[in-house]
């Protein structure tokens, strides 16, 4: 915490520069996010339809209370947490490994960097088509798995496999972006340290744990926090796999997909309930982020 440290003599003028530097961002945020957010927050206490606002009425906390007895919402919440719990660690670890590979003395660095990054810029349509091709009942993945005695499963159709499919898709397409982030983070570490700690055996791995990981702390904190924020709002993958329905049998229903289906799939729907769900999700993510910040801050006074 800043108060604990002694303030240097130049700190006074910093306040002016501080406000100056954050002003453009804060004005844009106020206009384009906070203002519509206040509007949406008001809606969460109403029964409100955009096309017929004259019929709007306040309903108090009814929308929030309704969420607690909504089984589909609970299911969506469970799915979303499962998704986040798997995707965040896996994508962080793979991104970091890819970054280490590209930062090592490997031959053809540029090729690897481009190859690993390409999934992040491949169109969702191509990715969707490929996954349909790979993961259908007679697809390559099933044929491969059958060599090891697994039964062939219909990934898109089976309620127990559709969510894992979303996870695989998400990880596949997000690790490239994470790799770029960690590559930038690794640049702040002198190359001699990195070379010494290259993954080339147990010793190297230990050095990696003791030297590189602590130095990457701010980047990892960033990756994990934004990873959790992003995955708890997962929409695209669930939408692609289920074609928007959240099926089969709500197994790919996520919170944001549910919000979308409640408020935006039908013309002139009641916006009060989806708005309330959005603020419930907001409260959950906000709490989790505060906890993480505490956790990371505790481990590193210097940041």
């Amino acid at each position: 915490m800043p108060q604990k440290r002694g303030k240097p003599s130049y700190a006074k003028k910093d306040a002016v520069w501080g406000y100056l530097f954050v002003l453009p961002a804060m004005i844009l945020i106020a206009v384009w996010i906070i203002y519509p957010m206040i509007f949406a927050f008001r809606l969460s206490f109403m029964n409100f339809k955009y096309l017929t606002p004259e019929k709007a009425r306040y309903v108090g906390f009814a929308n929030y209370i309704r969420a607690f007895s909504d089984d589909t919402f609970k299911k969506a919440l469970t799915n979303t947490f499962k998704y986040s719990l798997i995707v965040v660690p896996v994508q962080t670890i793979i991104s970091l490994l890819l970054a280490l590979v590209c930062n090592s003395r490997i031959k053809g660095k540029t090729f690897f960097k481009v190859a690993y990054y390409i999934p992040s810029i491949t169109s969702a349509l191509a990715v969707g088509t490929m996954f349909k091709f790979l993961f259908n009942q007679q697809g390559i993945i099933n044929r491969f798995l059958s060599n090891f005695g697994f039964h062939s499963v219909s990934w898109f159709e089976d309620p127990s496999y559709a969510l894992p499919l979303c996870m695989i898709m998400a990880i596949w397409s997000s690790v490239g972006g994470g790799m770029i982030l960690f590559l930038a983070g690794l640049q702040d570490i002198p190359s001699s340290v990195i070379e010494a700690a290259q993954v080339d055996g147990a010793n190297g791995f230990q050095r990696f744990l003791k030297i590189i990981l602590p130095l990457l702390r701010p980047t990892i904190f960033f990756a994990v926090v934004t990873g959790i924020i992003g995955t708890l709002q997962v929409f695209d993958q669930a939408y692609i796999v289920s074609r928007g329905s959240g099926g089969p049998l709500d197994s790919t229903m996520t919170v944001v997909l549910y919000i979308y289906n409640k408020g935006f799939r039908t013309t002139n729907a009641n916006m009060g309930y989806p708005s309330a769900l959005a603020f419930l999700l907001f409260a959950i993510i906000f709490t989790l982020t505060l906890i993480q910040k505490k956790f990371f801050d505790k481990g590193a006074e210097s940041y």
Binding site: D14, A115, W172
Partner: protein, 275 residues
């Protein structure tokens, strides 16, 4: 000794096998899309690989039926403005949150973080209404100004500014340099890798953006490239070969852009901090 070195060789081989196979998995869909974009509608859905009947006809179709030059121009202008604006605004805010002391900093930073946590869907309609009231639909103002900041990158820049040593900045301060000067002349050059990361992410994000541009542009002369290419997907079905060719028109420029920028992420280590 001998045993040890053969062990290292073995692990090197495994290392290369893993890294190369993952690279292949990663680029396969792209290669397949690229290949499909030259196929006929009859062949495009087949799994076999054949180099017969490949042609430029899908590209010809796109370039003759869509005002694609206009789409490219719009996309380049929008992505360039948004990227440059973001680089400046996010880096300044990120630096302030990392280095400067001012009242309300923590609250403002929590706001920056907090707004990432609200599902954008619920803000869509009120924002759209604002844009229409301002008469910003079908204009560069509407396509750029609401997108000139990013919580994600403000946060990222804060983390990067935190991780560089303070010594250089403090020395410059004693030499009488102002905070503004320190930021532009000393701090920013130290985080060049982060700036490249930001530039790549922002440019690509905006280059591919579909949802908002499709709401803001309701006349063809204001379509960006992804919005215009959406026309290839018809109401009831689409021809994969044409869609794939469209995807290539969208993707190849950014791969080139990535190839140019990625150098700065890696090869700038000499200018980065810790000397």
């Amino acid at each position: 000794m001998n045993q040890n070195s053969s062990k290292i060789n073995m692990s090197k081989v495994i290392f290369y096998i893993i890294t190369i196979s993952y690279a292949l998995i990663a680029i396969m869909p792209f290669i397949w899309s690229f290949y499909s974009s030259f196929r006929t509608p009859e062949d495009v859905n087949k799994i076999n690989i054949s180099f017969k009947n490949l042609s430029m006809m899908n590209y010809k179709y796109i370039f003759t039926n869509l005002p694609i030059g206009r789409y490219y121009l719009n996309s380049v202008i929008v992505a360039a403005i948004v990227t440059v604006g973001n680089l400046l605004i996010n880096s300044m805010a990120g630096y302030a949150f990392a280095r400067l002391e001012f009242a309300g900093k923590d609250i403002m930073f929590m706001i920056v973080l907090g707004i990432m946590m609200i599902p954008g869907q619920v803000l869509m309609v009120p924002t759209f209404v604002m844009l229409s009231k301002l008469n910003w639909l079908n204009s560069f103002r509407g396509l750029t100004i609401p997108f000139l900041f990013s919580s994600f990158y403000i946060f990222m820049m804060r983390q990067f500014f935190m991780s560089i040593p303070k010594d250089l900045e403090e020395a410059a301060f004693i030499d009488g340099m102002s905070r503004g000067g320190i930021f532009f002349k000393i701090a920013l050059p130290l985080v060049k890798p982060a700036l490249s990361t930001q530039a790549i992410g922002l440019f690509i994000g905006n280059w591919n953006a579909f949802l908002w541009p499709s709401l803001i542009a309701t006349k063809k002369e204001w379509f960006t490239l992804p919005v215009g290419l959406g026309d290839l997907e018809f109401r009831y079905f689409s021809f994969q070969n044409q869609v794939m060719a469209g995807t290539m028109c969208l993707t190849i420029p950014i791969i080139i852009m990535f190839l140019v920028l990625q150098k700065y992420i890696i090869e700038n280590s000499t200018t980065s901090g810790m000397k």
